[in-house]
């Protein structure tokens, strides 16, 4: 009996010893050998490593009005298993989201554990849904770029795509500066997803994007867009654009293009509407070019405003006959009257006195055929053929704006040089940027002197006479002197000729004529009234110029 007990005890001892050894071994295995793996699994369960998005900078107009800003909007998500009645929830959400309840029900019944029902809701809708207190529904905040003025300034601003990249306009050109750089946050979290106070915490704060203040005036921009829209609708034009500059430093006060788009709904926008016709589209300037030709000739003292020639209705150059519009013959005509009557033969006469080499030099000096350097994305350069490729007739056609192409912005900067006393400024849109280091103002850039102060004064007087007594009479304003010139240009076709009976109508000018505060170029593409399209362009100028001059605080210098 005692022997049996001793044996049992030994067996039991051996079993316990084996079990203890196995347990100890297993514990040693997990605690010593597998420790790093277990530790990493444990940390992964509680640690969250997040990228903290930087806030995209705000874009404001010159008076501080918000043009573009990023706001967190709430996105609605659902955990279907926690929603007690899918049909009832879908019915309620359908009304508030303006969607078919059956499609919401279908999504809730899809078997997904977690899903978005609607991204970036308007705040009122989010508040209304929150008030329903439906279990299983929740909100997550996501950034959304908002444009409070809707379509106003769309082409200046550009837009931000779904990936958060700025495209076109200021959003595209200043994307790096606006977007900032993201930060990082590593924390340990409790089951309620709250950061543990005594746990691991590494934080690298994001660097928010810089805020930009533009030179654009929202009031002038709105007035320009209104007039351009009306002009394009009236003329059933395929497109149009208006540029307004401050001639004293090249600041862009307004820049609009038609057709336009809504920067908040780019997905449904027509691709052609995204093109900024003021900056990225070129056309032959037509008779608006005559002012530059005459400025060059007067600056070179090749002619004076009083120089006279006999206008027979045409000019022959390089063996080609270049006619006045409608073949009119004006007889003895002064250089001032060349502008007033927009005589092509007169422009050829002046160009002949100047010579091809000098005309070409001044065309380049006025900045045609080269990018203005404006701080906007996708600027076109226009085309001016090298002098070596010019035929003799090109001297004549270039003098009245044929055979070369410009952007509306280029022409506006050239007219600004006449308006400000002869200096070509680089146009700019961003007046200042504010970041963590403070405010950085953009210094205006005077590119070069193109014509003398005296020539500029003579040209201002001649262009004023063109509005007061000549072809641009319809651009006159009751309280302000206006200097300007109309242009009607043919449209080149693919075969190297011109389309028949299709034109680009334009008006380029500035006001007040003696102390200009605004320079503007208005262009209408293929107006229905053909040769009379300039009348609509001038009407558009009259429509916004009074507002623009008031916003620019210009003193009236005329009395009706």
């Amino acid at each position: 009996m005692q022997a049996v007990s001793a044996t049992r005890l030994r067996v039991l001892f051996i079993i316990f010893a084996l079990l203890s050894t196995t347990l100890a071994g297993k514990m040693a295995y997990w605690q010593a050998i597998k420790r790093p793996e277990l530790l990493s699994m444990a940390i992964d369960q509680v640690r969250s490593d997040l990228v903290v998005a930087a806030q995209r900078g705000v874009i404001r107009d010159r008076n501080g009005a918000i043009l573009a800003t990023t706001v967190g909007l709430r996105s609605l998500y659902a955990i279907p298993a926690q929603i007690p009645d899918h049909a009832a929830a879908a019915a309620l959400l359908g009304v508030l989201l303006g969607r078919d309840p059956s499609s919401i029900r279908q999504r809730l019944d899809s078997g997904a554990e977690w899903l978005y029902l609607h991204r970036r809701l308007p705040e009122e809708t989010a508040v209304a849904i929150e008030a329903l207190h439906i279990p299983g529904l929740g909100f997550q905040t996501e950034p959304k770029r908002l444009y409070p003025s809707d379509t106003v300034g769309a082409h200046v601003l550009g837009f931000v795509n779904d990936e958060g990249n700025g495209q076109y306009g200021v959003e595209g050109a200043y994307d790096e500066i606006l977007r900032g750089s993201p930060g990082r946050l590593v924390v340990e979290r409790d089951p309620a997803n709250r950061a543990l106070p005594v746990g691991l915490r590494e934080a690298q704060p994001p660097r928010n994007g810089a805020d930009l203040t533009l030179t654009v005036d929202l009031g002038i921009q709105t007035a320009c867009e209104r007039e351009l829209r009306m002009a394009v609708e009236k003329e059933k034009a395929t497109g149009g654009s208006i540029v307004v500059l401050d001639p004293r430093d090249g600041a862009v006060l307004a820049l609009c293009s038609a057709p336009s788009f809504d920067p908040s709904a780019v997905a449904i926008a027509d691709l052609e509407s995204l093109r900024d016709r003021a900056v990225s589209w070129t056309y032959e300037p037509g008779s608006t070019m005559k002012a530059l030709t005459l400025a060059a000739a007067i600056d070179q003292k090749a002619v004076t405003p009083a120089t006279t020639y006999n206008d027979v209705g045409y000019a022959i150059i390089g063996g080609r006959r270049l006619n006045n519009a409608l073949g009119r013959a004006y007889g003895p005509t002064t250089v001032t009257q060349v502008l007033e009557r927009s005589a092509n033969a007169g422009a050829v006469f002046v160009a002949g006195r100047l010579g091809a080499e000098q005309l070409y030099r001044y065309i380049n000096a006025f900045g045609l055929g080269q990018a203005t350097g404006v701080d906007l994305a996708a600027e076109a350069t226009g085309q001016v053929r090298p002098l070596a490729e010019w035929y003799p007739v090109d001297l004549g056609t270039a003098a009245f704006g044929q055979g070369l192409s410009v952007t509306p912005l280029q022409l506006a900067t050239a007219y600004a040089a006449i308006a400000n006393g002869g200096i070509l400024y680089r146009p700019y849109v961003v007046a200042s940027r504010r970041d963590a280091d403070g405010e950085h103002r953009t210094a205006p850039v005077a590119v070069r002197r193109v014509i003398s102060v005296e020539t500029a004064a003579v040209m201002r007087a001649m262009l004023t006479s063109t509005v007061d007594n000549g072809i641009a009479k319809n651009a006159s304003l009751p309280w302000f002197s206006v200097a300007g010139k109309t242009g009607t240009a043919q449209i080149p076709d693919a075969a190297g000729s011109y389309e028949s009976d299709e034109y680009v109508s334009s008006f380029a000018g500035f006001a007040p004529a003696d102390d200009p505060k605004i320079v503007t170029v208005i262009v209408l593409e293929r107006p229905q009234s053909r040769l009379l399209g300039t009348l609509t362009a001038m009407a558009a100028f009259r429509g916004f110029a009074q507002d623009a001059l008031r916003y620019a605080r210009a003193q009236p210098d005329r009395r009706p």
Binding site: A65, I66, G72, D150, A195, V198, A223
Partner: protein, 112 residues
């Protein structure tokens, strides 16, 4: 000689009792001290946690208020937008002034 013995025994038992009591007292004090320190540490940790959760709650509240503020700024910009005001004015039947009269200071001064 016989009378002296118990005195010796008394002298020998007194230090032992005193040592035991002292040891007990020291041990108790140490345990109580450690316990108090542990309690103090736990209370600090608890209040730190509570404070941190409160900070997190306040940060979330601040972020929400900032978001609401941004939304209000956007709403204000929308309401101030000249295009919106023009549209509303047109809806109310208002028309643009065709002839603005301006007063010049010189004639007024001459009249005075």
């Amino acid at each position: 000689m016989i009378a002296a013995r118990p005195r010796t025994r008394q002298r020998a038992s007194r230090p032992r009792t005193s040592w035991e009591i002292r040891s007990f007292a020291v041990a108790t004090a140490v345990i109580a001290g450690v316990f108090t320190l542990a309690l103090l540490y736990l209370s600090q940790i608890t209040s730190l946690s509570a404070g941190d959760y409160e900070v997190q709650r306040l940060q979330a509240e601040r972020d929400e208020l900032r978001r609401q503020n941004s939304l209000l700024e956007v709403q204000l910009a929308r309401l101030d937008s000249p295009a919106r005001i023009e549209t509303l004015a047109a809806r109310l039947g208002l028309v643009r002034v065709s002839n603005v009269q301006l007063l010049f200071p010189e004639p007024l001064q001459a009249k005075r």
